[in-house]
Symmetry: C3
Subunit: 352 residues, 3 copies
């Protein structure tokens, strides 16, 4: 009888601890490696986003849950908060800062996070949404589109501050995801657009001319997956995206995306950009081969073409080594038009 | 017998884990909602302070404990570290950064934290110290006083860096709380004061002209609570505050504060500001009604009047929804004198 | 039988929790106290580095482990991220940001961390590597050398960004430690060097002229310890260091270092700096006495001499009080030549 009481006491202790611990879960990824770009010195950097996050959920009864997530992003090679392409430091919780409720009705969240289009397209891109130039996610797959033109320059291209998200539950494989942002200003840069240098269409720190919003539907059915998305950003650029994937055998995933960016609101001529990416993932034991080819065609400008090959070797479920080789031809970066850049990397990715 | 040993082994495991975990406790609050101010576009922001904290204590024997607390503050709508009224980012551990010892003698802490006056007055303000304009805490309740005029502009109005705190134990409901700061400079802004633009009384990055200090006593006895406080900041502005609360029934709390700010050291004329706030909280099942009216009267300037109503609906002990409506008339912000501003908000607050 | 099942269920629960928790370990130090420097007002500051860290390891099988460490550094008196001597904020993970693999072959890590020389010399310095001016670590012990001249000014003097580390296993008391950095630019300041103000040897944001690297060997055998190190930084300054320690009785540690900095690559004349430090630690029950004397002699300049005494009193394994008195004579800081500065401090150090 004494033993039984002891065991019950233990149960209490452990249960209590489990509950105390469940309030906040710490998680993250650290990814660093050697990078050689054909026009740069050998450097150390990242292939995946580096995160240190805090998240949790609370049961409220009747199937309702309160949920939150705060995610630090950082640069593993210098220890700084994540920096944008222009070298400016991004927000501390660049990854995500959202709170919300989840229930039978779906999920509502408020704060800062990926736009639904940007979150969804990752599943149809052969480098699973890596920010590395070896992947297609941040440029070719989205036809060079930015979800967030009116935040601090370099802040992010695929996230929204000051927005509300709604996701439906999954209905027989269908899910609908949406978000809408406020018009409030967020220290954005000057966008000349259809104006002039003296009277830009969007002066510095402009409010949005219309509420940005993003709508998409996803469908999964056995080996088949598909998405259809529409998004309009704060300067009324419109984005249409299609994605599909198919697994003829469990080890092989074929996928593709098509994106059409319509910048008519801010471009007098050459306002559209179209892009497509085809990709394949092939699993061989602990190894995974990634390959893709894509093309981005801005109106009146030469196309950008990218070919990328990658290999990931898993040491465990949480740790893998990687190597990539990629060639990009065309407009690479803002100032280099019609150049060819080769990118090679080799590194380690560890999740915790 | 084997079971018993197993149980003891389990006890050891769990106890060891509990001990390991007790070193650092992670806690925080995320609060976000929709805000509409009568002269601004609809925006997303906070009502309460948003925190992510790390704290712990260690038993040292003889009733002595070592204690520490580090508290990140952030903006949930943009993911940045908390920003001040001027848009400048505040310190990472804006909320608190203190270490100290606690024992029979009371508690001594060193570092950065709320001044004793600012920490105590929250209990007598009807919006429990919320930084939201719907509450009275940051302006009317303290007669527009700032505890920290010589830190980086926008850094905080109610915290001290470089200070030592001492709190007595509770003697039959009485407690005495105090803090004293050093004179060291902390990148403060120019304060012209009784000087001239060319020869300001406090040039940029000035040292304090006297050590800032804060003294207060609190008293609680059943349904009755009271405070009496005196504080002098780094530019020798003096602040006198009285507060009282009474609960005629457990569901109803009546409260009020009176504050008198004396800026004689830096103002040649019109140096005093007086203010009072009356408030009520009423609990109705999971709901709580908050209401208050306050008035701030600076010498030689029109008074600021504020009326606020709020409602909090608890989904659990850790999560509540809220809605507020508030009207403020008079000097609202530095540049808008004699205007009327209405503030509405609607959101969710989740603690973890 | 039921009890047994319960116990097994408990074992499962606890084991599961232990595993979940083992992914990330949170640790840190908070150290704050009163500081009086003879030419400054009394201030509050730190003696040791203040840290909040996240680390973990994962067993990969065959003795292989994945390891990571992310370490925030902060100022306890103001709550900011750690600031450099010039007041500029350092990276968020200033302490460390590394990921790697450990096995029978030793340990390989990539990211940002202490250079091997800087990490090793701490064990031979009487104030165990404290950044406080009471200790010798950051100046006299390393002959005024900086490991990182081409990062943002004030970033750090003893850390490398963008580097790879390799440590051998311990062979009968011998261990070999090494690191090599890339040449990539990191927003470094102008270094005139052997150039002119108009044509500096290293303009702002220069790449390294050669890969920085650091090599050292350590030896421990009972009461004896020794190190031998060579390092070359990004502007090709060379550093040679010897260190030794001896414990005649377990309570007494005698130690010394000799360092020679060769700045020939950037200095046309007076390129060398030599320095030595002798020290002693003596344990008396819960107390520990620290004492040291050192001398730094730059070619063609007067020597800097430092005498320091300290005392640490342990309240527990994780918490101690300290008091120091130190006198430094000579070139103290960049602008004060041939001055004498006394430094006193008194504070508390708590690890969690």
């Amino acid at each position: 009888m004494k033993k039984s009481l002891l065991a019950i006491a233990l149960l209490g202790t452990c249960a209590g601890m489990a509950q105390a611990q469940s309030n906040v879960q710490i998680y993250g990824t650290i990814d660093a490696g050697l990078i050689k770009r054909s026009d740069q010195t050998l450097n150390i950097g990242k292939r995946a986003a580096n995160t240190l996050g805090f998240k949790g959920s609370e049961e409220l009864g009747n199937g309702l849950k309160a949920i939150f997530q705060l995610e630090i992003r950082y640069e593993p090679d210098t220890g700084t908060v994540e920096v944008g392409g222009n070298g400016a430091q991004r927000p501390l919780f660049q990854g995500e800062s959202r709170v919300g409720l989840q229930g039978d009705f779906g999920m509502v969240r408020i704060g800062r996070g990926l736009s639904p289009l940007q979150q969804t397209i990752m599943a149809f891109e052969p480098f699973h949404g890596l920010p590395s130039p070896a992947g297609f996610y941040t440029d070719v797959a989205v036809a060079g589109y930015t979800s967030d033109p009116l935040s601090i320059a370099g802040n992010s291209n695929n996230r929204w501050s000051n927005a509300v998200w709604y996701n439906t539950p999954n209905f027989n494989g269908f899910q609908f995801n949406s978000a809408v942002g406020t018009k409030e200003a967020n220290n954005g840069p000057v966008i000349v657009g259809r104006g002039t240098t003296l009277a830009p269409q969007y002066p510095a720190n402009s409010q949005a001319s219309a509420n940005p919003y993003s709508l998409n539907g996803t469908y999964t059915n056995g080996p088949l997956g598909a998405m259809l998305a529409y998004e309009r950003n704060a300067v009324e650029t419109k984005m249409y995206t299609l994605g599909a994937s198919y697994l003829p055998i469990p080890e092989l995933k074929l996928m593709g995306t098509y994106s059409h960016q319509d910048r008519d609101h801010t471009f007098a001529i050459n306002s559209d950009v179209k892009a497509w990416v085809l990709g394949v993932n092939y699993i061989m034991g602990p190894g995974k081969l990634l390959a893709g080819y894509g093309r981005k065609t801005p109106d009146g400008q030469p196309a950008t073409k990218q070919l990328s090959l990658g290999y990931e070797y898993s040491l465990s479920k949480r740790t893998y080594l990687y190597v990539d080789a990629s060639r990009k031809k065309g407009a690479v970066g803002a100032t280099t038009v019609n150049s060819t850049v080769n990118h090679y990397d080799l590194g380690v990715n560890h999740s915790f």
